[in-house]
Amino acid sequence: MLDFTFKILVTDALLYILVTAIIIFIVYARKHEHLSAPWRQIKNKKLAMSSFVILLFFVITGFLDSIHIRQEIKIDTESKTQQQVVQYSSEVLSLLDLLLTKLRVQTEKTYSAPFAIHSFTKEVTDDQQGKPKLYYPRLKYGGAHLQAQDSRIYDIGKRLLWALFWTLLVIVLCILLVAKFVVSKNDNKNEKTNLNTKLKTVLSGNTSTPWLTILLVMSIPVFFIASLVELGPFYHIMGTDQVGNDVLYKTIKSIRTGLLIGTLTTLIILPFAIIFGITAGYFRGWVDDLIQYIYTTLSSIPSVLLIAAAILSLEVYMTNNPQSFTTLIDRSDTRLLFLVMILGVMSWTGLCRLLRAETMKIRELDYIQAANSLGVRHRKIMSRHIFPNLMHIVLITVVLDFSGLVLAEAVLSYIGVGVDPTMDSWGNMINGARLEMAREPLVWWNLTAAFVFMFILVLAANIFSDAVRDALDPRLRKA
């Protein structure tokens, strides 16, 4: 077994910070009733928890893809006298890459359709008589284990059945675990129930947290993983792209890019938008003027120009300092970071405007006026009375932005100022697929793969956010 060393990219570090912050918040919220109550409400909703489970799988994948290592490599130096230096490969791999090694390494020459065993395009070779002939060559890896007489459908079916078996096993195990350890605490007043009755409670769906739904929804990603394990090494489940890379691998790798753009950008937006928005709407006068000046100036510049300029200046910097960006992943990571930052700078103004307008409205309400005349400090009014009333707008905008940002990435790639072209992202895939749609016969799998994954992520995020909104909106809570 070879040794390895960790490599922490800047975006990785930011993601770790974000995750840590969320964990700290959870721990803190658990101790404070008024913070945890709305979240408990979410916990008991079926739809919310289903989408949460899906989101969780995306986040875990993205997180696994954010732990990077460099493996040690063996060298045979000819001069034995020299001391052996430990060398690490300049190829940076994530844990996810290691898990999906088979998918990553098994590349074909060019396009092949999902589950295909033959190449998508014809090739010319010489037959026995030395005459050239056209044929669809067998793939190097896709279905390579199949003998000529084997049925592909039968083989796939067999493997899928195995995947189903593993899924059932995992789910049954989970049900048992839930019944044994979780259910008793909340749902049964009677301490002395046996496992059998607990199981019945879980399976009947009568728990306050919808465990049955959660487990049923969970079976989908579990089945997906199981089939990946069963089929992945033997077939290209979603086909291969123009240079023969596995499309499914690319799509899974793109999850990290999408998540980072969606989350890190909002991370940058929020403090600016909230502080500036509330202050402007609340104080008005010269503060309002100044803040309006800043955001009007920023938002009146066409965003494409701003992004293009930022990305181009980054490239200038990278050209002038090539020693800091020796590997491909360093370059693409810096570009991603820059993109996230510039997207943040660009899009905080929209939320800021909304908050300012809403603050202007709330400010006129009686109880704020009352608090004002009672001499409550401004900071307290803003944080206690105005900010909670704006929370729903913030959350809705954030979620809308999340999907919007993931989608905007595709447009930016089209213009040529998106993430690094060597980076796997749905935007790059969709943009590449643009050309494939003109092919005849159609190369549909690249677009479909990106579309399906993107769609599921955004859908889950939106449903979850709806629940969050219902739970957090002070006015809806009253009702």
Partner: protein
């Protein structure tokens, strides 16, 4: 009563026309069936001024309008010049230092000057243009046009009076002077000033004049190297012997420019209306520019004053059979109007071609499988689907080269050491351009054996033209050497298995590029894969185009890909890409690899001015041997041009040197109308279904509303 009749009839005819019409026809219905060719342009041309224009997307227009004295023969191969406005293609007269005439076979060292005398055909007229319009007294109508009058005019069509005049030799001289005009920044001034006698001097005088008087009047300046002999004859004197000069004279740079036009457009107020020579061309060519809206559409219309020119009667041996000689002797041009629409995206472009709304098209990689298939002979032919549509394919190897280059100034891959040479050779074997061509160009290309593409003098095919540092000759075919051979070379270079023998470090190389498109991404992936075969780590340094150019100029790039489009069909125009004194770094030349081998340079200087013949061939062969061994390029490939035409386009033959080919084409508009009708029947039923669905979805909503109201009432 009558009124109703008319109404009913008109409604009925309206309905039937709606049903029959091509809903997706991008052109007005009125132009159906007319002798109009439909084409497209990708980006807006920067200038149509023949002294400045130097790119193929501008030549589409420029070459149809302006006529240099010579043109490339449309049908004959190898490419050959023929007179256009001139009476004949002149052979140069050689002079020594004292301007004494030398025999044609004189020694190169003795030749101090060459003189080209061009005689023009008489009676050639310019296109109708307001610049030539005359008043009754013979003075120019629009000379000193009133500023107020100009206010009402938006484009050239706003000038109602038009005129024409005969083409004379001084128009050509005027244009040559324009090449030296500092405000025009002609791209070939630098090169031409080395050859045309007195051009540099003219430039200095013009620069001085510009400082004092603004825009100088070129007619008042003399150019010592160009002489007007009589009304129809002029002479150009160049330094030394430069046989390729005649090719330059066939380019739009050397077309005539009437001084009236220049004066017309330089009047005050014209520039504010975008009325300049950059946008409005005045020529003698077969076509003239009538609509110039670079934002949307450009239209070329037949020049009513076009001089007598007939379709060629001689061509290659297959031309007769291909029906290319049917129109021999008929007057040119055949087509009345050519409409170019701005079309940036490849997909709509291809679809419009397939629908019959463009008459010709290139083939993008995506559409390739649909259009072209390989025959049993390994050759290409059109697919059955295309055949049924009557679409024809024409192919030709372009006179250009795309190469993967090494920067010879780089400490790792550059230099003339044995180590670096072997490293380069190893990489050249590893980069499998045959695969590149088949993946990214659908086989539309030839892996290069040398810098000279086939069809150009000096290129040999078969075993003779084989680059035996990279290929083996096996069973009468070339075969790329095995990767093991590359690995062996790599080990000999001191990098066994990709590790530096000296320090045990893994070999890390850099590829510089400016591509950011998704297509580029797969290309980059592919190149990394090639280096992985040798266990070499390849780092891609991706920057924007300017930064990439800057790296190339400063020589800080390591490996790169670059292309060259020939100016003229001569090996000199390719081999000079490796000529030392033509280096990019410091000298701003086109030798992007900065390759500088004294032996090669010596041979190049000798070869450059020679006439084609066995002696030149043997010189070229020894030059090729030198560069193949040194491998400053990993050779790359020569692209093949594939283009498609519909059945109604006649007389089409690929000609990569000639740009003024539109005048030879003929259309069959009736056939086009029939086919368009057939291919574009609108499918309307989905619309109806959609509307029905919409109505159906409203009903449950209404029911739900009723229910809701009733419940609320309770």
């Amino acid at each position: 009563m009558y009124f109703y009749k008319v109404l009913i009839v008109s409604i009925l005819t309206g309905l039937t026309s709606v049903v029959q019409a091509q809903w997706n026809n991008p052109y007005p219905a009125a132009s159906a069936g007319k002798n109009i060719m439909y084409s497209f342009f990708r980006e807006r041309p920067k200038t149509l001024d023949p002294a400045r224009s130097y790119s193929s997307n501008e030549y589409i227009f420029v070459a149809q309008i302006y006529e240099p004295p010579f043109q490339y023969s449309y049908l004959k191969r190898p490419y050959e010049l023929e007179p256009l406005t001139a009476v004949s293609v002149p052979t140069p007269v050689y002079l020594d230092k004292k301007n004494r005439r030398l025999p044609a076979n004189a020694d190169k060292e003795k030749i101090a000057y060459s003189v080209y005398r061009v005689r023009l055909k008489k009676g050639i007229q310019y296109q109708p243009h307001p610049a030539f319009a005359e008043k009754d007294d013979g003075t120019l109508y629009y000379d000193g046009v009133d500023k107020n009058a100009l206010d009402k005019i938006d484009d050239i069509a706003g000038f109602k009076k038009q005129g024409s005049r005969e083409l004379i030799a001084s128009d050509y001289i005027y244009q040559i002077k324009r090449l030296a005009n500092p405000s025009l920044q002609s791209p070939i001034y630098g090169l031409m000033s080395q050859y045309i006698v007195g051009l540099k001097d003219l430039r200095t005088r013009l620069l001085d004049a510009k400082k004092t008087t603004g825009n100088p009047d070129l007619e008042k300046f003399s150019l010592s190297g160009v002489k007007l002999i009589d009304r129809y004859t002029y002479e150009i004197k160049i330094k030394g012997k430069y046989p390729q000069f005649i090719f330059w004279m066939a380019m739009p740079f050397f077309s005539p420019m009437p001084p009236e036009a220049d004066r017309f457009f330089s009047q005050p107020g014209m520039k504010d209306k975008n009325l300049t020579l950059d946008w409005y061309a005045v020529g003698t060519g077969a076509y003239m520019l009538t609509v110039n809206d670079p934002n949307r559409k450009m239209v070329l219309a037949r020049n009513p004053n076009y001089h007598e020119e007939t379709y060629p009667a001689q061509g290659e041996k297959n031309d007769q059979q291909a029906g290319l000689l049917k129109d021999a002797g008929k007057l040119l041009p055949f087509i009345d109007r050519i409409e170019f629409s701005l079309e940036k995206e490849g997909i709509p472009n291809w679809n419009k071609f397939m629908q019959g709304y463009y008459d010709q098209s290139g083939i993008s990689a995506e559409a390739f499988d649909q259009a072209v298939q390989f025959t049993r002979g390994g050759d290409t032919e059109i697919t059955n689907e295309m055949k049924e549509r009557g679409i024809k394919l024409s192919t030709s190897v372009a006179t250009s080269v795309y190469y993967f280059g090494f920067n010879m100034l780089d400490p790792v891959v550059g230099g003339s050491s044995e180590r670096a040479r072997k490293l380069r050779q190893a990489i050249s074997i590893a980069i499998d351009f045959e695969e590149f061509i088949s993946i990214f160009r659908n086989g539309r290309g030839l892996a290069a054996q040398s810098p000279i593409p086939p069809g150009i003098f000096g290129a040999s095919d078969g075993k003779k033209g084989l680059n035996d540092y990279i290929y083996d000759w096996v069973d009468g075919k070339k075969k790329r050497k095995n990767i093991l051979a590359a690995k062996k070379l790599l080990a000999e270079a001191g990098y066994p298995e990709g590790f530096d023998r000296k320090n045990g470090q893994k070999l890390l190389l850099h590829y510089d590029t400016s591509g950011t498109s998704p297509e580029e991404k797969s290309r980059l992936d592919w190149i990394r894969k090639q280096f992985k075969k040798l266990n070499i780590e390849l780092v891609i340094r991706n920057t924007d185009y300017n930064r990439f150019q800057e790296k190339m100029r400063k020589g800080t790039a390591q490996m790169y890909m670059w292309g060259w489009n020939a100016d003229y069909p001569d090996p000199e125009n390719f081999l000079f890409l490796l000529y030392g004194p033509n280096k990019k770094v410091g000298l701003n030349g086109e030798n992007a690899s900065n390759y500088d081998n004294p032996a090669f340079n010596r041979l190049f200087e000798k070869m450059k001015d020679m006439e084609n013949g066995p002696e030149r061939l043997s010189l070229i062969n020894s030059m090729l041997e030198i560069v193949r061994r040194d491998a400053p390029w990993s050779w790359g490939f020569f692209p093949k041009d594939f283009s498609l035409q519909h059945a109604w386009v006649k007389n089409r033959k690929s000609n990569l040197m000639a740009n003024n080919t539109l005048k030879y084409l003929r259309l069959d508009p009736e056939l086009r109308e029939i086919k368009r009708e057939k291919w574009n029947k609108p499918v309307a039923w989905p619309l109806l279904i959609f509307i029905l669905l919409l109505i159906a979805s409203i009903i449950p909503a209404v029911i739900a509303y009723r229910k809701h109201e009733r419940q609320a009432a309770l």
